[in-house]
Subunit: 203 residues, 2 copies
């Protein structure tokens, strides 16, 4: 994880300016239990991280250029409001997207991770979208679209897990761990988006 | 799907009293695209439905008695507020849970399905929880817990898909279709829960 993360513009993981998550570590523990996230999940995430890290740029390329680019209601979030391409913005967020794959697999899910989850979520809302990169684009990404797209990320990442000669059972376990982490993250993003609405414990 | 569904207390699929979904059919189309939900997904969901329908009671039994019962912060939603068991309530919701597995796989995702998705979501919120069964239990299920538990449902349903001699590729495709549907449903429930908060398009 030390391969140049500090050179990524706007990658503020662990930095002092990152706000605290509305979710406590104790609540995170509950979320993990709800998602069936165990020590084994963590072990297989680490294994997945070793497999995915070198492929992460290609994975993000596939998601962004291979899939999202062909879906106007998703692609617009990396474009100017009038639909013009913003290649600089796209490239900057792609770098952080790549880093997120690594963080998902290789980071310890502690307070820093929790806080940066919150920061990631807020950067998709009207509170913070576009600010990091100083662009004018859509004011927010509707959470329901991000949630739905998780199905695509989960599905398309599987072949990348099978490229390093692991057994079918290991690939399956790495994939399940990835999916559990993403569902956990969706639950956390939900709490972050919920801070935009009337404070409600129901979300 | 005609095997006694009309005998299930509170199963109001397609009935006049079910409110309209806040999501239009056109928006559903966008949600499906975001989730990578295609005609193929639908085809494999049908295949999964044939495999899962006879096993659905056992699957719900596993989820409810085998997993949720051991997780206090989830189990409480089927109990009295003081924690006392409410076996009648549990049994009634189990029957609808079973039916939901079938509906997920075998229903056409049309306006009736969309409306009933909304009804299902609302029945987990303070607007409608407990009413159908006339019980006093927790006032709502936090959506983040339901979202997290989807990871467990996705993971634990896989072996049931492999019991009927389908090829590994077919099992994999049925599983991917199931997961895509659940992610789509999470996105819809999110819109339903969002109606509780300040109306915000961000959720």
């Amino acid at each position: 994880m030390e391969n140049g993360e500090h050179d990524i513009h706007g990658y503020d993981y662990g930095k002092a300016g990152v706000p605290s998550s509305p979710v406590t570590l104790e609540e995170l523990q509950h979320f993990k239990i709800s998602a069936g996230f165990t020590d084994d999940t963590e072990r297989y995430l680490r294994m997945a991280g070793v497999v995915l890290a070198p492929q992460a740029p290609a994975i993000v390329q596939k998601w962004r250029s291979g899939i999202i680019a062909g879906i106007p209601h998703l692609a617009r979030h990396s474009r100017a409001v009038n639909g013009d391409p913003r290649p600089g913005y796209l490239a900057a967020t792609n770098l952080r997207f790549v880093q997120w794959i690594e963080d998902t697999c290789l980071r310890t899910y502690d307070q820093s991770w929790l806080n940066y989850q919150h920061e990631i979520a807020l950067r998709h809302t009207s509170l913070k979208k576009n600010q990091t990169d100083g662009v004018e684009s859509t004011p927010f990404v509707p959470l329901h679209d991000a949630v739905a797209f998780v199905a695509v990320m989960n599905q398309t990442i599987r072949p990348y897990l099978a490229t390093q000669g692991h057994s079918e059972a290991e690939v399956e376990a790495m994939h399940a761990a990835w999916c559990a982490s993403l569902q956990l993250q969706v639950a956390l993003w939900l709490r972050s988006y919920a801070t935009l609405a009337n404070p409600t414990p129901e979300l």
